[in-house]
Symmetry: C2
Subunit: 178 residues, 2 copies
């Protein structure tokens, strides 16, 4: 029997809603049931790789920590490099840093200065588009190293948080929108 | 021209030594040059998957955060589930927790109680075997969910820290030893 391809509805159904995590009032979207099903995990990676084939992407960029999971698998599938963006102080070599605002306070993410070659065709893959602050900061970092962002793709988009506005003009794609 | 297979010596040569990170006296092994080279990244994932073929492993377990990178790619390659072990408080659903001693103080890692089915054939993949505390705690968590650990494989082993002693009796494999 041929294996049925994974649809975005299969993925949507497997995402678990955890109320009041990490704090009261937040409906957390738990992706571990997707990752924990071999067919859904591979299907999600294939859908995130999208229209790209091996040879068309030089580097897949993942954001610490959940973003690493999907981005690394997409990088392996596309025979691309994997490039991590991490919270400040976690990467051991020289870095560029970029801060962005949160509802309360701010965060800073970092990228190794030698992470990619200039002109690198990069795909940014992350699990969740919420307010878009992290992805915006990641794109700013990728500008610093002269990478060309082919696409920013997310497994989940929280449409009501308007993250796409923060990423206006950039090629954004998401699999499942809530 | 056929692609030359990646050897562990290729990987060893690409690992960057960063002195005094994260603190004075530590020689940090930076794996980003391996991840950042498409051939070495894919080769490293293939070597970590080792003798296993798709269908022989139910779940590949990765440890927050660098461990996610290699484990997720191995899971995709083997068409297995990806299961995250994270620092306490990061996983949204009900968890088992396990603490382990560090040189100063202790750490606690967690695993979702429903992460795998009982009897699950699990492969634990991590970037670095140092003192073995994290891997030991991960194995204890996997016992709680009745998983069977087929192998624990590391990209790098710091032999002088005797991590293998902490994992005595378990099937440990590493690609590069310093």
């Amino acid at each position: 029997m041929p294996v049925q391809p994974v649809s975005v509805d299969d993925i949507r159904r497997a995402i678990r809603n955890v109320p009041d995590f990490p704090q009261a009032g937040i409906q957390f979207k738990d992706i571990t049931p997707v990752l924990g099903d071999p067919r859904l995990f591979a299907g999600c990676v294939d859908l995130l790789a999208g229209r790209f084939a091996p040879g068309e992407v030089d580097a897949v960029v993942g954001i610490d920590a959940r973003g690493f999971i999907l981005a690394a698998a997409v990088a392996y599938k596309l025979r691309a490099a994997f490039v991590p963006i991490r919270k400040r102080g976690k990467l051991p070599f020289k870095t560029y840093e970029q801060s962005y605002d949160l509802e309360y306070g701010s965060n800073t993410v970092a990228l190794h200065v030698d992470a990619v070659k200039p002109g690198c065709r990069a795909l940014l893959v992350d699990d969740l588009l919420a307010t878009g602050g992290t992805a915006w900061a990641a794109v700013e970092l990728l500008k610093q190293v002269d990478a060309r962002v082919l696409e920013i793709c997310f497994m989940i988009e929280l449409g009501f948080l308007d993250g796409r506005k923060r990423l206006a003009g950039l090629p954004v794609r998401s699999l499942v929108t809530f």
